[in-house]
């Protein structure tokens, strides 16, 4: 099976990191993965975005035009990529930054106030981890344990508090993903 994902948001929200952790976890589970970021000039307040493909077969084109999953951390991301989500696809929305959302009834939409959740956990840096959690909880394309192991590997010594906040955010996301 092949899953094509676009993750997108303001610079600094961690949209590219969402793709990176999903790709790394996919690789850790023996799947083929590719991670293709947008680079170069992007309007302030625009859409830093990344195409991530996770597949059990070799990946031909790494460029995602019609995503199975769109992770939209801000409204411009929905405006730009929302109409291209495949039928029966999944849209994950950060409601704190997406005032208008999108009107589509042929896809699944999961909404979560990610800024607020991150704030409650204690670090705005982990709002993207809520999105990763929702992907895992809803689709199971990668396992929580794989990402936990990866994060623990490089954060345990460097910043144990941030590690705990990250894991908490992912688990919260999984909960939301499972209940929607």
């Amino acid at each position: 099976m092949k899953t094509e994902i676009i993750s997108s948001g303001f610079g600094g929200q961690g949209a590219l990191t969402v793709g990176k952790f999903l790709a790394k976890a996919g690789m850790g589970e023996g799947l083929n993965v590719s991670w293709l970021p947008s680079y170069g000039p992007e309007m302030r307040g625009g859409t830093a975005n990344v195409s991530t493909v996770i597949s059990d077969k070799p990946i031909a084109s790494p460029l995602v035009t019609y995503p199975d999953i769109l992770i939209a951390l801000n409204q411009p991301s929905i405006d730009k990529f929302g109409p291209n989500i495949r039928k029966n696809g999944l849209l994950i929305v950060n409601t704190d930054m997406c005032p208008h959302g999108i009107k589509r009834d042929d896809i699944t939409i999961i909404e979560a106030p990610m800024n607020q959740i991150a704030k409650e956990i204690g670090s705005m840096m982990v709002l993207n981890m809520v999105a990763i959690g929702i992907v895992i909880g809803k689709t199971g394309i990668v396992k929580y344990e794989t990402i936990e192991k990866d994060l623990t590997g490089f954060l345990r010594k460097k910043n144990p508090e941030l590690l705990e906040a990250n894991l908490k955010a992912i688990r919260k996301g999984i909960e939301i993903g499972k209940n929607n």
């Binding site: 690789m27 590719s34 990946i59 031909a60 084109s61 790494p62 460029l63």
Partner: protein
Amino acid sequence: MAEKVLMKGNEAVAEAAIRAGCRLYFAYPITPQSELIEYMAKILPKVEGIFVQAESEVAAINMVYGASGTGRRVMTSSSSPGISLKMEGISYLAGANLPAVIINVQRGGPGLGDIQPAQGDYFQATKGGGHGDYRLIVLAPSTVQEFADMADLAFDLGDKYRNPVMILSDGLLGQMMEPVEFKPYKTEDELKQLDEQHFDWCMYPNEDEPNHHHHEINSLEIDPLVLEQHVIKLGKKYDLIEKNEKRFEEYNISDENDVVVVAFGTAARIAKSAIDELQDAGKSVGMIRPITVWPYPYEAIKNVLHDRVKKVVVCELNLGQMVEDVKLAVNGKIPVEFLGKVGGILFTPDEIKTKILDK
């Protein structure tokens, strides 16, 4: 088996070059290849290598020229406008029979162009670019793994033929992350052997070799009769490379093919998606992907054109620079069509499908 790591193409090829024995690297930064120079700056000093950020691309390639004369493995990299600046030095390297690896992470052109992926330097890489009768061996990767593997191959080919080798990549492969598996680092003994293979011509101060200071590294020969013989000899070397080193990949090639696609690098990757989707819909399309774009695998294309094949479609991220090579291979037997994108824009698999199905 070594563990896989998720890495950008730019970083992966740098790591692979160091593992292949590259300890000398000179370059000037430019997007979209800057991670490559950053990686070299970070790692080379740790392995007793020499990294210099030169004051310009022209300076960098001339540092490569000098360093290559010592017989050590030396590399430079840049992106399209920077590669243009290096062309004089590349011609000198070729003229002086020197090995070196040059990486071009192509971006949109001409001129300063933009910083998005493109393949507009095909002519420059494969047909010349610099002056005089010379050839570069040109390798075109299409995955991050292949990009990394080509570092090793490029150094080996360079040493084998004493010729500069270019890896013709692009911004997509440079910026993209994919899992990569690396070969082990060359051992001290292996590095010594690499050096020794050049002792009969290089400037390496080897006490065991009686004439070691008398080797001359030069691309100037003022006597036309001597230069004539020199260039004829170069030509024989290029003939030998053409005979031995053509590389290509066949994808979905079969007796059922109605159409054959020819594409290299990133364009070939996108074409593969189109071919897979058409195969699922019951339409058989094959592809030849040149891995060496010089020497060009003409026969590989010719050999798959059986009676059922109605046309050849060339897909490139330029205005059709490879089309003439494909036409040479097809030799007028069937139509050769072209689909291109320029300015750093990529085609989608859908656009390639439409072109293939177009009657």
